[in-house]
């Protein structure tokens, strides 16, 4: 059985898309995703529309993944609720709205708008993208400060009564500290990880490839980093569901994340190459459960922690 329930919300499958890596319009034309996707995560939406960054916004990193610096191009929350949410509803699966703001107050205002807008009822969960600067903290990114994270999550949870997921950045010294703060703030699940800070240089042009110099690294090369994050978060917070994201490219990767402690997974970069990946993993997970005589995917969650011979040796 693949369906999972997190914080009272039922998802028909543990497979989600990663925010910013999925287009319901084209993907739905291509094949019936219903039944393979457990829900849809929107591209991050901001209060007002955002134009995004100049080209180039992406770099291919052969073999290891890509960098992106899109700049959260989006039409704004009003537009999303007035118009865009419609196309997500066609899937008839939970809609997870990813939002971002530059202060806790703005996060709260966005939650407020969702709650009061007539179409807001179609939003089944909020995912907080905490990778953006917090103007109350002098522009330091939300995700690197435990206090900011806690405040943002708290602000949203006070208004929005359905599940709230905190998406963590890996660009921190200690991700469990940030995860703990999100949980204190009331987060119902942790999403780990957002992109890793990276850079690439065009050696011919002698300059960074991305117009914005640095960008977010995603794809197969960040899998070991994401797996480490999920492992540590599950170890510290075994009660909190974790939604794993980062470099998941196939069923074996997905299984590793479940075993490390993830209750659900999100798939990003690889679906650019293989848009059928959602179905493939869905089908192969079912086969795996069958072959292993497991009744439910939840039986796998975190199982690798029990098989560490000498847990006290984990840290050096």
């Amino acid at each position: 059985m693949l369906p999972v329930t997190i914080a009272g919300q039922h998802f028909p499958s543990p497979i989600l898309n990663a925010s910013g890596c999925f287009n319901p319009e084209n993907f739905n034309r291509m094949f019936p995703l219903k039944g393979t996707l457990g829900g849809i995560v929107t591209k991050t939406v901001t209060a007002q529309h955002q134009v995004g960054n100049a080209q180039y916004r992406t770099v291919e990193l052969p073999g290891i993944g890509m960098l992106n610096s899109i700049g959260i191009q989006n039409a704004g929350l009003d537009h999303f609720l007035d118009h865009d949410i419609e196309q997500f509803r066609e899937y008839k699966i939970p809609i997870i709205l990813s939002i971002s703001a530059n202060s806790s107050q703005k996060f709260a205002q966005m939650a407020e708008k969702v709650v009061t807008h007539p179409n807001g009822k179609w939003v089944d969960a909020l995912e907080l993208n905490l990778s953006c600067p917090n103007i109350d903290e002098g522009g330091v990114h939300f995700g690197v400060s435990p206090i900011s994270v806690k405040q943002a999550v708290q602000a949203v949870c006070q208004i929005f009564s359905k599940p709230v997921f905190a998406k963590l950045t890996p660009n921190v010294t200690n991700i469990t500290e940030i995860g703990g703060a999100a949980i204190e703030g009331g987060a119902h699940a942790l999403v780990a990880i957002n992109t890793v800070l990276g850079l690439d240089i065009d050696v011919k042009l002698k300059k960074p490839v991305l117009e914005r110099v640095s960008g977010g690294y995603s794809g197969p090369g960040i899998r070991p980093i994401a797996l480490q994050a999920v492992w540590q978060l599950h170890k510290h917070f075994p009660e909190t569901p974790i939604i794993a994201v980062g470099g998941i490219c196939n069923t074996e990767d997905a299984l590793a994340f479940f075993m490390a402690g993830a209750s659900m997974i999100q798939i990003g970069t690889i679906c650019f190459r293989n848009p059928l990946i959602f179905q493939e993993i869905h089908q192969q997970l079912l086969q795996y459960l069958d072959a292993q005589d497991l009744a439910d995917i939840s039986e796998l969650v975190g199982c690798a922690h029990q098989n560490v011979d000498n847990p006290q040796k984990i840290f050096c």
């Binding site: 910013g20 890596c21 999925f22 287009n23 319009e25 084209n26 993907f27 034309r29 291509m30 094949f31 591209k43 901001t46 209060a47 007002q48 529309h49 955002q50 134009v51 995004g52 960054n53 100049a54 080209q55 180039y56 916004r57 992406t58 291919e60 990193l61 052969p62 073999g63 290891i64 993944g65 890509m66 992106n68 899109i70 700049g71 959260i72 191009q73 039409a75 971002s100 703001a101 530059n102 703005k106 990778s131 953006c132 600067p133 957002n194 992109t195 914005r212 640095s214 960008g215 977010g216 794809g219 197969p220 490219c249 970069t269 690889i270 679906c271 650019f272 190459r273 293989n274 848009p275």
Partner: protein, 293 residues
């Protein structure tokens, strides 16, 4: 044959032919294999496919315009070997499997006055124009004029095919090195045909961005009322509108458009050229969050 419910699909195909047709130029013929009616091939000129590269390593797919599609589901891609991906494609042997996702994107509007229409191609950008031309030819309408600029004679590639479609007299070629046709670029052969430009109701352009921009400026200066469609190229990680990586700034709306989803074919007047500030983040409202991710 089974009819596939959706027109967009990731087609498992077989490479039938992959032959050299000029300096660094290849023609690849592929056919879908899974017994589904070739809906992908019911596509329109200007649309493209995302070709999956034959490698286990992580690579993006590569976008290629459709050069032609047969009723039975075989299709042609005309490509230039320029980098890692096309070098991999060049080595594919007939009989090999290949996956193409498509058809993607917008297509050219059918010309209302085809006999006076202008087709302006640069280099490999001729591919979608050939497709549109051949469709018109099959419909038996008057054929447009085709202006085609390439670097050198050995990079013309499909000369015979182009002449067959547009007619010997209606195809004008310029080469940068003067090795064939007019010595110069495509704007020079266009300028030489002022009357044709002024008579035209519509123009279709596909080629390198500077060539497209120069052509648009020239056309507009000679014929302010002409309706121009351009087919843009951008880095395309996904080709399906999923990543927002391939955008072009718009004159007529605040947000940039995705080239893969809203394009690649745009009306020339709608878009901002790169030197006009593609979509700079300075346009963001100051109070908004501004995040590079």
């Amino acid at each position: 044959m089974k009819q596939h419910p959706n027109p967009l699909y990731d087609y498992p195909c077989t490479v039938i032919e992959n032959k050299r047709v000029g300096k660094g130029l290849k023609l690849m013929r592929i056919r879908q294999v899974d017994g589904i009616i070739p809906q992908a091939f019911k596509c329109k000129p200007g649309q493209f496919v995302m070709v999956d590269l034959p490698t286990e390593q992580f690579f993006f797919r590569r976008p290629f315009s459709l050069l032609w599609v047969d009723a039975d589901g075989a299709m042609d891609l005309y490509y230039k070997v320029v980098g890692k991906g096309t070098t991999m494609m060049e080595a594919i042997k007939p009989g090999s499997p290949i996956k193409v996702l498509g058809p993607l994107g917008s297509s050219f509007t059918k010309p209302q006055d085809p006999g006076n229409a202008l087709f302006i191609g640069g280099g490999i950008g001729i591919a979608p124009l050939y497709f549109l031309g051949k469709k018109l030819q099959k419909q038996g309408v008057a054929m447009p004029r085709c202006f085609y600029g390439v670097r050198s004679q050995n990079e013309i590639g499909l000369l015979g095919e182009l002449k067959q479609v547009f007619g010997e007299n209606r195809i004008m070629i310029s080469t940068d090195d003067g090795s064939h046709g007019t010595h110069g670029n495509v704007c020079q052969i266009l300028s030489a045909e002022k009357e044709a430009v002024q008579q035209a109701k519509e123009a279709y352009i596909c080629g390198p961005t500077p060539m497209m921009q120069a052509s648009v400026n020239l056309l507009k200066s000679l014929n302010p009322n002409i309706r121009i469609e351009v087919s843009l190229e951008e880095h395309m990680p996904c080709g399906t509108g999923a990543c927002t990586g391939c955008v072009v700034g718009r004159r007529d709306q605040p947000l940039p458009s995705k080239v893969c989803l809203n394009g690649p074919v745009f009306e020339a007047g709608q878009i901002l050229w790169p030197d006009e500030g593609l979509c700079v983040s300075d346009l963001n409202h100051k109070e908004q969050v501004s995040c590079s991710l």
